[in-house]
């Protein structure tokens, strides 16, 4: 069973404010979902190699060169705030 304290810890790890409402429902929903996952315990996975996904199992290499064809000015324009060709960020300290 997840507690409110656990939820706050998870939100802290995820760098995300909880909105202060609907947390009881959220806890109940998460409990229900985690309870559902319980069925995995009965699956016999002895000696099974974890599958990380994908269809190709070989490494793919490329030249270490910049070849992305993005217009620098457009990339700067896409940033929320910019000034004189620089990206502007809020003071963070």
């Amino acid at each position: 069973m997840l507690k409110k304290k656990d939820l706050e810890k998870l939100a802290e790890l995820a760098r995300m404010d909880l909105d202060g409402k609907g947390e009881e429902k959220l806890l109940k929903d998460l409990d229900k979902i985690l309870d559902y996952f319980g069925e995995l315990k009965e699956a016999n996975t002895e000696g099974i190699v974890p599958m990380a996904g994908g269809t190709a199992s070989e490494n793919i290499f490329r030249e270490d060169s910049a070849d992305l064809n993005v217009d620098k000015n457009k990339a700067i324009e896409a940033f929320p705030e910019n000034s004189g060709g620089y990206l502007k960020v809020p003071p963070v300290f």
Binding site: L34, Y36, F37, K41, A43, P50, A56, A78, P80
Partner: protein, 483 residues
């Protein structure tokens, strides 16, 4: 113009024969969209100016006697998690409300080269998280067959645009069924390629070991045309693979394909209309001479749990990039509280206020299954059971070439019906999720041609192929739709 019966193939022939001009079609479609999409809400952004320009280019090419490609002038709709340079890309989220892309997704670039026309960007569940398109920050999309019902999701806007005859085809993304489930609910063809067949560069990532881009179309033939235009290796997506694709047109070879029916998919929970629909499809394929065989995929029952551990884990990592610094941000954060630094304050506030409820739920769930003390019991265990799910398919594909299943357990459900119960919503994808876990190609094909305004809600059936054997399921699908 009657768009109902026009396919990409027939559109191309008519355009070449001079029966209409690309510009006329585009103008007429925008009139139709502006009139009818008020009710359906398939589009978030219309790209009328760009579409008109592109149509004029196609008409000029034709007038000057140039050879045009099969997709030249074809009006398409693009899910709003794929980037088109200079256009908004929201992924259905407040946190990207004002984000304008500075480059094209690989898929978009390829379609541009073919001369396709983009009508606009379509609505979706926020960051593709949902099965009904009710989770969009910008309002729900409605099913053109019944406005009280969902179109499915998460690619609900793309599917509705095709079903409502606004577009001849569309692109969506499929992480656990987000192309195939809506296709089944809206009576169109929806195709998820093999993992690695199509580059995801420029697709806003949800769960990277599962995401694939694929087309919606009115026919299997059209879906194949769209797939063929976008597939292939891309240096910007290291998971994309170089594979040749040969459409299978040899009828004799297609007829020899053995089709498996997994007993775990034909369960009591199937609604009567889906059961009847899928049986109808099987019966029709039998009259074409196809041979069926019962098979077993014993770990199917675990697929949903595996998916809802692995996907949120990857979601929690992928969505970390939405930090309130890049892309878009809340402007007026001036002081921090709770002893946090300003940087933390910006993260917490942007992410807390601008992600929707389902996205927050999955980020928290993903953070939980990856956290110290729980990792082995949840994430590591799920990765092992994922391998078992894949092994089931590998075993089955020794006995059969293609697998046929239902796509969904019911036809389109009512708006609001499952909105308060996440687990019930998650269960909407039980027949499509295993395909993503194993990285296989899957297609949803309507059992028959449905009429908007008719009495029936559409039903689809799913064909699953071996890795990179897209040609097999297209081959069977094309035979099916000829009946």
């Amino acid at each position: 113009m009657h768009f109902n019966d026009i396919t990409i193939k027939s559109f191309h022939d008519s355009l070449k024969n001079g029966e209409f001009k690309a510009l006329e079609v585009v103008r007429e479609l925008f009139d139709k969209i502006k009139k009818e999409d008020v009710k359906i809400h398939s589009f978030l952004t219309l790209l009328e100016e760009e579409a008109v320009e592109q149509a004029e280019r196609v008409d000029l090419d034709l007038a000057s006697g140039k050879n045009i490609s099969i997709l030249s002038g074809v009006p398409l709709a693009i899910k709003d998690n794929m980037l088109i340079e200079g256009s908004r890309a929201t992924a259905g989220s407040r946190i990207l409300e004002n984000y304008v892309s500075s480059y094209d997704a690989t898929v978009v670039g390829k379609l541009k080269k073919e001369g396709a026309i983009f009508l606009g960007k379509t609505n979706m569940d926020e960051f593709a998280m949902g099965s009904s398109t009710e989770n969009s920050a910008f309002g729900v999309t409605r099913n053109p067959y019944d406005l009280e019902r969902v179109p499915g999701g998460s690619s609900g806007g793309s599917v509705a645009a095709v079903a409502a005859n606004f577009a001849l085809g569309a692109f969506g993304s499929d992480t656990g069924g987000s192309i195939r489930e809506p296709a089944a609910f809206c009576g169109v063809v929806g195709f998820k390629p093999t993992y690695g067949s199509v580059s995801r560069f420029g697709l806003i990532a949800m769960a990277s070991s599962l995401d694939q881009i694929g087309p919606f179309a009115k026919t299997v033939e059209d879906a194949e045309i769209l797939f063929d235009a976008v597939r292939g290796e891309d240096p910007f997506d290291a998971t994309s693979v170089k594979k040749d694709f040969f459409p299978e047109n040899d009828l004799k070879k297609i007829k020899e394909l053995r089709i498996g029916l997994p007993k775990e998919y034909f369960i009591d929970g199937l609604s009567a209309d889906v059961k009847n629909g899928v049986e109808e499809a099987i019966a029709k394929l039998k009259t074409l001479g196809f041979k069926f065989k019962e098979i077993s995929l014993p770990h199917t029952k675990y697929a949903l749990s595996v998916y809802y551990i692995i996907m949120p884990a990857e979601v929690s990592a992928n969505l970390a990039r939405f930090d309130g610094i890049r892309y878009d941000r809340i402007k007026d954060i001036s002081e921090s509280k709770n002893g946090r630094s300003m940087l933390q304050e910006i993260y917490f506030k942007n992410r807390g206020e601008r992600f929707g409820a389902e996205v927050r739920r999955r980020i928290l769930l993903g953070t939980f299954v990856l956290s110290a003390g729980y990792y082995d019991a949840y994430y590591a265990k799920a990765q092992k059971v994922r391998q078992l799910v894949r092994n089931d398919f590998d075993e089955a594909f020794k006995k059969v070439d293609v697998i046929l299943t239902p796509v969904t357990a019911t036809s389109a459900f009512k708006i609001g019906e499952k909105a308060d119960d996440p687990l019930a919503m998650y269960l909407s994808d039980i027949f499509t999720i295993p395909v993503n876990l194993a990285g296989l190609p899957g297609i949803s094909i309507p059992v028959k041609k449905y009429e908007i305004g008719g009495k029936e809600l559409p039903i689809g059936f799913q064909l699953i192929g071996k890795h990179f054997r897209e040609a097999d399921i297209f081959g069977i699908g094309k035979q099916y739709e000829k009946i």
